[in-house]
Amino acid sequence: MGYSLDFGWLADATGAIARGAATTILLIAVTTLAGTFLSILGAAGRRNGPLLLKRAIGVYVEVIRNTPFLVQLFFIFFGLPSIGVRLDPLLAALLAMTLNMAAYTIEIVGAGLDAVPRGQTEAALALGLRPRQVFVKIVLPQALKVIYPALTSQIIIMMLESAVVSQIAVRELTYEADMLQARTFRAFETYFVVTIVYLVLSMGLRRLLVSGGRRALGAGVS
């Protein structure tokens, strides 16, 4: 053995860990909002849009779902500048996360839209609502209720996956851990502590989403 654990550095590191965790929370909050919005548009477009749009959305979903997030991130951050699109790390990370999440949630939202009985649309049209009103006020709320648990899981998966954006120097939780261990030479202890922070974040996020969903969408959401 000959190795003893040392957590003495922790007292000076709480500030950095808290800052990193705050950035991680910011990343996932923005991604959740933008990704969900994008996936509602995408799922609706895939069902009712023109043929070309349907095809394009289909290709987008398949490409994202069948390639690693890390490669998507590198492509956006390192690859796009060579065709003139230069993004700073935080924006590149947000773009990559949003595009990644939307590809998964388009399928989820789509399944929710399919689960709403056709009679709901017909009844709403018969009452004189315009098609857009039917979608926003009748179909979408019911669809969101059905898919809420799946959406919750996807948000948490995305939060865990966001650890990867440390690789393009976004100062989130993993990046702070990398910096800390380089300074303290206590790699195992540092990553151990940060892993526990992630565990707490993911459990807290799940609880928040479940209770928030229950309030917003009514009972029956688990």
């Binding site: 690859g79 948490i156 440390s166 892993t195």
Partner: protein, 215 residues
């Protein structure tokens, strides 16, 4: 500067892709074996065994894979084991896969009607025989689609092992990019190679799913 033609890039990336494939297979097989053990605990009659397995699964599903790999890479040397990136990557992904596979298969076991257990017991089979002859074959057969789906996730996850220094596809592409300064082409090619590996499996999983719903 080294001169790299387009075909040099492709050739080097394809050579590196061998390691991605090998690591995926090793982790899938290893994860399957460890996952079986976790599954036995997860569906055991003993309450504490079940809790232990639930905790194991929650731990791996509630923390980033990157952290698991780091802990493996920096933690094992503390136990006096000499460790190389390949070992850390294979072990880390094995444990990661075992948690997910155990949870998928548990879903299959739970989906079976209670009567299957009762029928087994009434035929005089003991617990292990019931599992081996009746429960597990059916559980595996109804969870084939999500299992293949997870294999796709696992292949994509191998990209993270580049960060702890394992020379697979992504790490090689970083090196090529540093030599050629053509990130658009290099990462585009890497994405294409991953797509070619994953897309057929995704389609296969989808076909299995369709077959399962029509039955």
């Amino acid at each position: 500067m080294i001169e790299f033609t387009f075909w040099d890039m492709v050739r080097n990336l394809l050579l590196a892709a061998r390691w991605t494939v090998l690591l995926s297979l090793a982790a899938f097989v290893g994860g399957g074996v460890v996952g079986m053990v976790v599954l036995f605990f997860r569906i055991a009659k003993n309450k504490w065994a079940r809790r232990l397995a639930s905790g194991y699964i929650a731990l791996f599903q509630g923390t980033p894979l990157l952290m698991q790999l780091f802990l493996m890479f920096f933690g094992l040397p503390m136990l006096g084991l000499r460790i190389e990136p390949w070992t850390a990557a294979a072990l880390g992904l094995t444990f990661f896969a075992s948690a997910y596979l155990a949870e998928i298969w548990r879903g299959g076991v739970d989906a079976l009607p209670r009567g299957q257990w009762d029928a087994g017991a009434s035929l005089g089979l003991h617990y292990l025989q019931e599992l081996r002859l009746i429960i597990l074959p059916q559980a595996f057969s109804i969870t084939r689609a999500p299992t293949v789906g997870f294999l796709v996730q696992l292949i994509k996850s191998t990209a993270l092992t580049s960060i702890i220094g394992f020379e697979e596809l992504v790490r090689t592409s970083n090196a090529i990019n540093n030599a050629t300064f053509e990130p658009f082409t290099v990462y585009g090619l890497v994405a294409l190679i991953f797509f070619v590996m994953c897309f057929p499996l995704t389609q296969y999983a989808r076909a299995l799913e369709r077959r399962a719903t029509t039955n």
